[in-house]
Symmetry: C2
Subunit: 170 residues, 2 copies
Amino acid sequence: MERELLLLGLLRQQEMHGYQLHEFIERDLSVCINMKKPTAYYLLKKMSQDGWITEELAREGNRPTKKVYRLTAAGEAAFQRLLRENLSTYRLAEFSDEIGLAFLESLDAEEAVRLLSQRRKAVSEALASAMTAPQHQGSLQWIIERQIQRLKNELTWMDEIIARLEESGS
Amino acid sequence: MERELLLLGLLRQQEMHGYQLHEFIERDLSVCINMKKPTAYYLLKKMSQDGWITEELAREGNRPTKKVYRLTAAGEAAFQRLLRENLSTYRLAEFSDEIGLAFLESLDAEEAVRLLSQRRKAVSEALASAMTAPQHQGSLQWIIERQIQRLKNELTWMDEIIARLEESGS
DNA sequence: GGGCGCATGTAATGAGTTACATGATTGA
DNA sequence: TCAATCATGTAACTCATTACATGCGCCC
């Protein structure tokens, strides 16, 4: 329900059409959120069928027709419910994406350092791009800040591991 | 391919049957890994069909027949490839599970603190259980250590946010 | 004799992605 | 005129989960 929460939260601040919503997410929130176009369109349709949002057709000049979405009372209620649910609960990540660490010892230290340095570079690039991401007002900025903190923590960890490997390899 | 890497890595250290593999993951790695039984069985069958592992039937006494899996040369090659791939690349998390933070300002500070404190408690329980998880030798322990570090970072962050809210609310 | 542990699976479902499809306007 | 942007979708597929199904042995 996290994606629904996001869409509702954004629509609550300002009515938007699907393309616009997706574009905003891509441009401004790509640092921490990745939602593909068909997913956005699908969820909007579903929430519209569920009565959480209304769909209003709009044309501007000769541009393609848009469907502008707006929260209903039921949508507002759903938002409030999902928000409380989301803030109060914690789910362990299902799968450690860095599972390779578990088998590091099957490589020689030199190669391990080389591979992890490559990964470290990717993390540091992600951090750099996160730090230049568009700023926002209010709490919307917090998820970006949090992502930056998380990436810094990732870098710290990688440096620690690389240092340990270099020590053991020398 | 992360799940395949895990299974290959474990089988590489010691031949096992499906039930045993799943049990090990549940018992010893549940802190950072969550893989359901049908998923394990499915992947083992698939990897066996792909020639990455061999399947050998075994009976002990009158117990149900087991299928003991063992890496083939192709499996070893796949392991080496997947390991390098995994260690050298980084993927941004697809979706911030704490998206609710973005809409914190739509709640009054008092309720926000109450909800986040609930979440904080869940995180701290996860940390406690991670710290009492079975210890392992070698690099297998690293993913557990990393998870502990990550949970500590999560707690730090939550404390910071809660503090900010209490400050602004008073 | 009844429930739990061992051991294996299948079938249906869900959530999201990729690839495909359409069509108009705008700017180089 | 050709590509990019605006705007909406459908269809097929992937990956993993939940729910369901089976059956023997062991212990109370």
